[in-house]
Amino acid sequence: MISILVGHWSELIEGMKYTIASSLLALVGSLILGVIFAMFVISPNKSLNVIGKIYVEIFRNIPLLVIAMFFYIVMPRIFPGLDGFKAGTIGLTIYTSAFIAETVRAGIESVPVGQMEAARSNGMAYLQAMRYIVLPQAIKIVVPSLGNQFVNLVKNSSVLAFLAGFDLMYQGNLIASTTFKTTDTYLAVGLLYLVMTMPLSYFMRYLEKRWSKTPTV
């Protein structure tokens, strides 16, 4: 394992760069999409509501691999510039956005309705009440699970290996197939994944514990 880490350090670091880049891009994209669709799901507007629910249910219930492969195999016929990295990142973004929409919705719904009503009766518009009263309270519930979604993103970005996306898993497979030291390579790759995911998931557990002690309302 040490010999793989030392001998193939540059490839592994290159793979980690792609993994982190893909996860960060997908995080930003899925946060934006996720918040928009969460707003749709809770909005009083019937048609937005239906669109939001359909989006969330469809993409939560289809495997990430199917979504990513769709962007890798089918979409390049229409958009020829779509390589494995881009297709995988788009797939990750869409898949994760459905989960983030659910998280954000649950966070917002955990804020008592009275808060919204009180804000509205004090003369705030719906969006103002959302922005200044409800969302700041919801954030404490949402942030730890968003952190866990990011950990999932780093892990799930390994589907890029299916699409020649140059991520850590892809590099690991290349090394394994050239050196034939499969166990050592996968252990080294696993170690590098843990370096990325473990600190974050322990930090989120800490945040969850700390914030659950202080009363929100």
């Binding site: 492969m69 499969t182 996968y186």
Partner: protein
């Protein structure tokens, strides 16, 4: 349109359904095995036995923070080269999914046990039950009710995640549809639609079941 009609011939549809059957049974066997292993691990982690609980906790955290794909590769390619254990695709897929899912379920089960208030245990103990008796007859039955919805959700994840085992050529839904559109690229879009639809139906029904159970238990 003609592509869709041709692609959905009876032979192709039957082939997809055969793949779906493999998807479901591999996931079902894995969830049952993971539940048993996860229950033991979760209980040990909950009971705070010196050293043992800490070690098991660390192993659970490590597995939970690794990509499932890596575990699949390890079981299929790593084991034979180092330990001389060669698993066939179905076994390798089941073992990998079970290892990954046991860690997930161990945490759910530990959370479920922790959610039962301490008063229950104290009342049972003061009525003369031993610790293990109190656990088995009083705590676990109540905890189990809380755990059923998240376990069903984990089953949904398993059905989706089992698609990753295409890479070791597990003959499941994703792999079978790849074979069909590999023979005729005109069938690509129809196959993606069919595959997405089949996964969606299974996962959507299961997640509705999980929601309904959660509502009933509350």
């Amino acid at each position: 349109m003609q592509n869709f009609i041709d692609a959905y011939s009876w032979i192709n549809l039957r082939f997809l359904l055969e793949g779906m059957w493999v998807t479901i049974y591999v996931s079902a066997i894995s969830v049952v095995l993971s539940f048993i292993i996860g229950a033991v691990l979760g209980l040990i982690r909950y009971m705070k036995i010196k050293y043992l609980s800490a070690v098991i906790g660390l192993i659970i955290d490590i597995i939970r923070n690794l990509p499932l794909l890596l575990i699949i590769f390890f079981m299929y390619f790593g084991l034979p080269s180092t330990f001389g254990i060669r698993l066939n695709t179905v076994t390798a897929a089941i073992v990998a999914l079970t290892v990954f899912e046991s860690a997930m379920l161990a945490e759910i089960i530990r959370g479920g046990i922790q959610s039962i208030s301490g008063g229950q245990m104290e009342a049972a103990r003061s009525n003369g039950l031993t610790y293990l008796q109190a656990m088995w007859y009083i705590i676990l039955p109540q905890a189990f009710r809380n755990m059923v919805p998240p376990i069903v959700s984990q089953f949904v994840s398993l059905v989706k995640d089992s698609s990753l085992a295409t890479i070791i050529l597990l003959p499941e839904l994703m792999y079978h549809s790849q074979i069909i559109y590999g023979q005729n690229t005109n069938y690509m879009i129809p196959m993606f639609v069919a595959m997405a639809f089949l996964y969606f139906v299974v996962c959507f029904l299961l997640s509705q079941l999980s929601k309904a159970l959660a509502r009933r238990l509350n």
